[in-house]
């Protein structure tokens, strides 16, 4: 297995661990100084605990959250992934989206992540972009485009 194949395997196992809420596996696949570079992640605890807090937060809003890896590839110490998420906001109200009650609405949107892997394959840094506008429109928290 090449380093790139091993890194892709780590990414797949990490995504599965998020889905299974397997926090020990999440901790084992991230470096001790794991740093996500994503808007909002500065409000999370440092390291793996931040990733776990974010994942548990998503499940609290959307208990049926499920993800699907649409595409994954790599080069050197980087992997790139395109992930689709489907879920229903039947849990808690998503306060950060300005919502005071759970909407019961379904969301279906995607994100793209570049990960940097340490020499042992664990993920040390991530850069992500999520289709937040699509999700907010599906929740009714933002108007759909009218102009343009």
């Amino acid at each position: 297995m090449s380093d790139v194949e091993r890194n892709i395997d780590v990414f797949r196992r990490l995504e599965a661990a998020h889905q299974a809420r397997d926090n020990d596996t999440i901790r084992s696949l991230l470096t001790d100084d794991f740093t996500p570079h994503t808007a909002g992640s500065e409000m999370m605890p440092p390291g793996a605990e931040g990733a776990i807090t974010a994942n548990e937060g998503s499940f609290s809003f959307m208990p049926d959250k499920r993800t699907e890896i649409l595409d994954v590839f790599g080069e050197g110490d980087r992997t790139v992934a395109h992930v689709r998420m489907q879920a229903t906001n039947t849990g808690a109200a998503i306060a950060w989206a300005g919502l005071s009650e759970p909407t019961g609405k379904a969301v279906d949107f995607d994100w793209i992540q570049i990960s940097r892997h340490a020499d042992d394959g664990r993920i040390a840094e991530t850069w992500s972009q999520m289709d937040v506008p699509k999700m907010l429109m599906q929740l009714g928290a933002m108007p759909s485009p009218g102009g343009m």
């Binding site: 409000m43 790139v80 570049i114 972009q129 699509k134 108007p143 009218g146 102009g147 343009m148």
Partner: protein
């Protein structure tokens, strides 16, 4: 077969010609007629080549002084991810138009990630890409900062 460095060079040139030099014809020539555009700026644009061009056109129209800076690239022989910073002034048609706001004339600087699949002729056959809309809306004063 192309090397990953050659794949990156195709996209480095594309960003420079299309986004920094505002050459939409270069985009027309680089994008395959059969391209699948997975993240059009407005879902009503559809997912074909006209959607890809309309997305680029809207980005240029909304930001007459747009500049981009590539921060990171990850590539294989036929695929490349580009993490880049987009910066400029919200003017022209304006980024807030979909939200019912006119151009704010405020400046923004946000990151995005694009992933492009490239065929043997060097043309783009698939694109997905997202940028940091929430941060941009906060910088333009169209959305409150979190917390």
């Amino acid at each position: 077969m192309r090397t990953s460095d050659e794949t990156k060079e195709i996209l480095r040139r594309f960003y420079d010609e299309v986004f920094n030099n505002r050459d939409l014809k270069y985009a027309e020539a680089s994008i395959s007629d059969n391209v699948v555009e997975r993240n059009p700026l407005d879902p009503r644009m559809g997912n074909d080549k006209s959607a890809a061009i309309a997305t680029i056109q809207a980005i240029l129209d909304n930001t007459p002084d747009l500049q981009t800076e590539i921060v990171d690239m990850v590539a294989t022989s036929d695929k490349v991810a580009i993490r880049a910073r987009f910066f400029g002034t919200d003017s022209g048609k304006g980024w807030g138009v979909p939200m019912g706001a006119p151009a704010t004339n405020e400046s923004f600087s946000v990151e995005g990630i694009d992933v492009v699949t490239i065929d043997d002729d060097g043309r783009f056959t698939e694109h997905y890409g997202l940028f940091d809309v929430p941060t941009m809306m906060q910088q333009l004063g169209l959305m409150p900062a979190p917390g």
